[in-house]
């Protein structure tokens, strides 16, 4: 009997966790409670073993992931020339509450720009392009809220990249001046 009750409550806990994780994710923060419940019915909860790749660099991606439990490591392979061996760069580590891959929601035939691997046994929430399209078809006002926030995130990422490129250019200029 306890076993049944434990499982029952674990399921409720799990659903509550998913709902809470969605509510705290920046892209979905403007959604109402009813819309979040609708979204909960659209997303996919995926479990990854430690060391298992979530996606690989160069693969076609169709959506984003939110880390519900565990941690991920993002690394990119840097290939300059055929004579030089490919270098692997650690881009970042993501923990519970972080999200990744959101560009694939809007880009057509988007290729993953880095590889994401589970560091521990991890649980991720997947939200993909077909889910977003279905939301736009069935609940357009909710889809617009998500798209606005998504555009904001992508805009912010673009700004960060521009700042980084400017800094690097400045650094290269300074190095050239020194030599």
């Amino acid at each position: 009997m306890n076993f049944i009750w434990e499982n029952l409550f674990r399921k409720v806990d799990h659903e509550h966790n998913v709902l809470e994780a969605l509510r705290q994710t920046y892209i979905f923060q403007t959604l109402s409670r009813r819309e979040l419940r609708f979204l909960q019915g659209m997303v996919h909860v995926r479990r990854f073993k430690s060391g298992e790749p979530v996606f690989r660099q160069g693969e076609i991606g169709v959506g984003m992931y939110i880390v519900l439990q565990g941690a991920l490591e993002i690394h990119a392979d840097h290939h300059i020339d055929d004579d030089v061996p490919t270098r692997k760069h650690l881009v970042t580590r993501l923990k519970s509450g972080d999200f990744l891959g959101e560009l694939s929601l809007v880009e057509n035939n988007s290729r993953r720009s880095a590889t994401a691997t589970a560091l521990d046994d991890s649980v991720l929430i997947g939200f993909f392009k077909p889910d977003l399209l279905e939301i736009l078809e069935r609940q357009p006002h909710m889809g617009v809220k998500i798209l606005l926030r998504l555009s904001e995130v992508l805009g912010r990422r673009l700004k960060e990249t521009t700042v980084k490129i400017t800094e690097l250019k400045e650094e290269i200029r300074r190095m050239n001046e020194k030599t």
Partner: protein
């Protein structure tokens, strides 16, 4: 390449998950094919759900819950079809009853027509050995007609089973289809998940568009044919329009099949050349509208198949499943094409 134990066990686990998924899919497929009337009911359910899905989505967009929207749409469409059926069935039944009564006359009329053709051929080409074409055609036609009316009760039973089960399945496909797809997607291994989801979306989108376009196309062809026949005061215009609409679903052969009953009626009743020409013009105009306007605007862009491929898959469909095979051959082929392209792209991605 040596694998670390964790990677090897991961690969093994993924392989078992894939085998499990394929077993589930194979079981569902076998169940649908082997249970009597289930395949036809499922095809009808897909057609109904793809046709009514946009209406349910429309209501949902205006704040109605999915369950209530599904119930409202199915009830409204069911009630409308029942009313149309209540008006049309006695008429169709009466037409069929009259057709059954007129059949011997039609058969002898066709025989007379053939014997006239035979006589004309003999006059220009001499005696065609001892071959009695008229008697052979007459006996064949009589046996076909007898068999048709003998099998009619069984066909009607299958028809009503499919007509009840199809919409019933369609209701749950519209209401809970998303949940079922999500549960099925849950057993897909992680490394195939995004590919499978993208594939399912592409197939769903393509078949949905195709089904809606074909239904609209057939409806317009049926309406134009019925209206045209009514205009020239041809008998059974609604029945012939309905036949033209249904046979129009069969690629290439359908339009010709749809016109055969009207030509037989005209020939047997000894209509004048002008009346036959007017009737032929009605069918030709309906087909011109179909080929010149409906197919380019509604259908052509959806199915990205070469014309030769289309003919080959229609022949294969006819060989495997007869008329139904011909109707479903194009969407099945385009689904296979999308699947193979996606799997190929996935394999290339994984290898590189």
């Amino acid at each position: 390449m040596s694998l670390t134990p964790s990677k090897a066990s991961l690969k093994r686990a993924n392989r078992w998950k894939l085998i499990g998924l394929l077993c589930v899919l194979a079981f569902i497929f076998a169940f649908i094919v082997l249970v009597e009337n289930l395949l036809m009911s499922c095809i009808l359910a897909f057609v109904v759900s793809y046709s009514l899905g946009p209406l349910v989505n429309y209501l949902e967009r205006h704040g109605v819950s999915r369950a209530l929207a599904s119930a409202l749409v199915f009830f409204a469409v069911g009630a409308t079809l029942s009313l149309v059926g209540a008006w049309l069935f006695p008429y169709l039944g009466n037409s069929l009853y009259r057709l059954q009564g007129d059949m011997p006359r039609y058969i002898s009329g066709v025989s007379q027509f053939i014997s006239e053709v035979e006589g004309w051929l003999r006059s220009i080409a001499g005696p065609i050995s001892d071959f009695d074409l008229t008697a052979k055609v007459e006996s064949k036609l009589t046996s076909w007609t007898q068999r048709f009316f003998e099998h009619l009760p069984g066909t009607v039973k299958t028809f009503f089973t499919v007509m009840l089960l199809g919409p019933f399945l369609a209701f749950f496909m519209v209401k809970d289809g998303r949940k079922v797809m999500r549960s099925t997607a849950a057993i897909v291994p992680n490394y195939l998940f995004e590919t499978a989801l993208s594939l399912q979306h592409q197939i769903n989108f393509q078949i949905g568009q195709f089904v809606r376009a074909r239904i609209l196309e057939s409806l317009i062809v049926g309406l134009v044919t019925a209206a045209g026949l009514m205009l020239i005061s041809f008998p059974y215009p609604i029945l012939l329009g309905a036949i033209a609409a249904v046979t129009n679903l069969i690629p290439y052969l359908g339009p010709l099949l749809g016109a055969v009953p009207a030509f037989l009626i005209a020939l047997v009743n000894g209509y004048s050349s002008l009346e036959i020409a007017m009737m032929a013009i009605v069918y030709i105009v309906a087909q011109l509208i179909d080929a010149g306007l409906l197919i380019p605007v509604l259908v052509a862009k959806i199915v990205d198949l070469h014309p030769v491929t289309v003919i080959l898959v229609i022949i294969a469909g006819a060989q495997l499943m007869g008329i139904v095979g011909m109707i479903i051959s194009i969407p099945v082929a385009s689904t296979l094409k999308v699947t193979l392209t996606t799997v190929y792209r996935h394999l290339i991605d994984t290898r590189s």
